[in-house]
């Protein structure tokens, strides 16, 4: 770590990086209920609210169902409204998740990934956000606290353009509770980037009364869902445009996915979030030994960039997809997306599915190295479970 400008960098845990972005967004309403490991986000933001560093109406809800309901109400009223959650909290919100997307409310929700009960566990895996992948929310997976910070206001801009809610994921504890240097951009610049929020409809605009959430029967429901399908498609384009705009401020790229030493690789791992960092360290080591290995780290999971992923993976001999969640009785979610993406190719790379890290089980460099060793033998088979005692 060299020459970090102290004025620009703050030592932040991932949770506080999300809270810092929320402070700069300064939403009119935040309604939340604390749940480990999302707590640092909400504690920090509550502090900002108490210290009057934000103008936010901070609502301590009695459950996550209420927290998201209040956020939906505020958003429908025409203001920026946010919440944050993890695991069981997201599960309790489930009913309202599709209400937020169905009503086309651009709510941004930082999400700290944590395993679902039972058995109860507070550590990271992705089963919580994967269970919400089909509910019309944009889903962005972050590796570092820096990504968490930047993608939070990035997601706000994207959400408000396409009128879909967005969740921005970080790994429980690995990211949410570990300190990293985070480059913070001046408030003024971020406020200018996100701009003024002009809601398309507002429940509280008494000059233009509207009804939000009426009954829609078979004659129109399908058409309204198709609007949502189209909005998700539109989000692909707007994601890249938003990235170009933000790059002017940060100098960073905002691709659908990160490629790490992938272009000339023969064997690659696909893994998202903090585990991608572990994979990069192993790739550096194996590259020094002359092994042609690389990584594809998905960032945007919904909408899923099938075409672009296909282009990036088509020349590989063999790929391992590492999922931090399972689909009981089916293929793991990320594996299934990657496999589908490759389907149109005449000459498909070999694919191997791995499941790892459930309930916060660590993924060690040694284990990633073993995955690459297996891959370099060019053999695939049944799903493998990293570090599991069968």
């Amino acid at each position: 770590m060299k020459n970090l400008n102290k004025n620009k960098y703050q030592a932040l845990i991932g949770g506080h990086a999300a809270a810092e972005a929320m402070r700069q967004i300064n939403p009119e309403v935040v309604a939340a209920y604390p749940i480990t490991p999302q707590t640092p986000i909400i504690e920090k933001f509550a502090e900002f609210a108490a210290d009057k560093k934000v103008d936010t109406e901070f609502i301590c809800a009695e459950s996550e169902h209420s927290a998201l309901s209040a956020t939906v109400g505020a958003s429908a009223a025409g203001v920026r409204a946010m919440t944050a959650t993890s695991s069981q909290g997201l599960a309790l919100m489930n009913e309202i998740l599709s209400v937020a997307s169905g009503l086309r409310l651009p709510i941004v929700m930082p999400m700290v990934n944590r395993a679902l009960s039972a058995p109860i566990n507070i550590h990271c895996d992705h089963s919580d956000s994967m269970s919400a992948r089909d509910l019309g929310w944009i889903q962005i997976f972050c590796e570092t606290a820096q990504e968490v910070y930047e993608y939070t206001f990035f997601a706000l801009k994207l959400a408000e353009k396409v009128l879909l809610p967005a969740m921005v994921m970080q790994d429980g504890f690995s990211t949410s509770h570990n300190v990293e240097p985070v480059k913070i951009y001046p408030d003024k610049i971020i406020k200018k980037f996100i701009g003024q929020y002009k809601p398309k409809y507002s429940l509280l605009d008494i000059k233009k009364p509207i009804t939000v959430g009426p009954l829609v029967l078979p004659d129109y429901y399908f058409e309204i869902k198709y609007q949502e399908i189209e909005a998700m498609e539109e989000a692909r384009k707007v994601y890249l445009e938003t990235g170009k705009e933000l790059k002017k401020i940060t100098g960073n790229n905002y691709p659908y996915f990160e490629k790490y030493k992938l272009d000339d690789a023969e064997a690659a791992i696909v893994v998202s979030s903090s585990s991608a960092g572990t994979a990069k360290a192993v790739i550096d080591k194996l590259r020094k030994e002359g092994k042609k290995v690389g990584l594809l780290k998905p960032i945007l999971f919904r909408p899923f960039p099938q075409k672009e992923i296909r282009e990036s993976l088509k020349n590989l001999k063999i790929i391992a997809v590492l999922d931090r969640s399972v689909s009981f009785g089916g293929e793991a979610p990320l594996f299934s997306e990657i496999k589908n993406s490759l389907y149109p190719l005449d000459k498909k790379p070999l694919l191997q599915s791995y499941v790892f890290g459930l309930g916060g089980r660590d993924l060690f460099e040694q284990e990633v190295e073993e995955v690459f060793e297996e891959l370099l033998k060019n053999k695939t088979g049944q799903v493998k479970y990293i570090g599991l005692r069968k």
Binding site: K200, I210, G213, Y220, I224, Q227
Partner: protein, 93 residues
């Protein structure tokens, strides 16, 4: 004419107040009331019992049912003391 996806407000919002009369519910019915004017004594029991308020009354007399909103519940037929309304199965289109 039903509108297409791009012609309707986002998320099913209703952006014009007081427009429920544009939402015709008459096609929900399986049975349709047939009113026999000759048997009708104009007692006006049916209009006050119709839950859809779709039997118009003008100058103390009931008129033909408004089929755009009649849901075919059959209440009018049940309450008519003169047997002036019978329910007929709708043609399926």
């Amino acid at each position: 004419m039903l509108k297409s996806s791009s012609q309707i407000p986002l998320g099913g919002n209703i952006i014009k107040p007081g427009n429920s009369s544009e939402y015709k519910t008459g096609n929900w019915k399986t049975f349709s009331p047939v009113w026999d004017k000759d048997k009708c004594a104009q007692c006006l029991i049916c209009p006050v019992n119709c839950p859809e308020n779709c039997i118009p009354v003008k100058e103390g007399k009931r008129l033909e049912t408004n089929f755009d909103f009649c849901k075919g519940c059959g209440i009018c037929s049940q309450v008519c003391p003169f047997g002036a309304i019978h329910m007929k199965k709708c043609q399926t289109s």
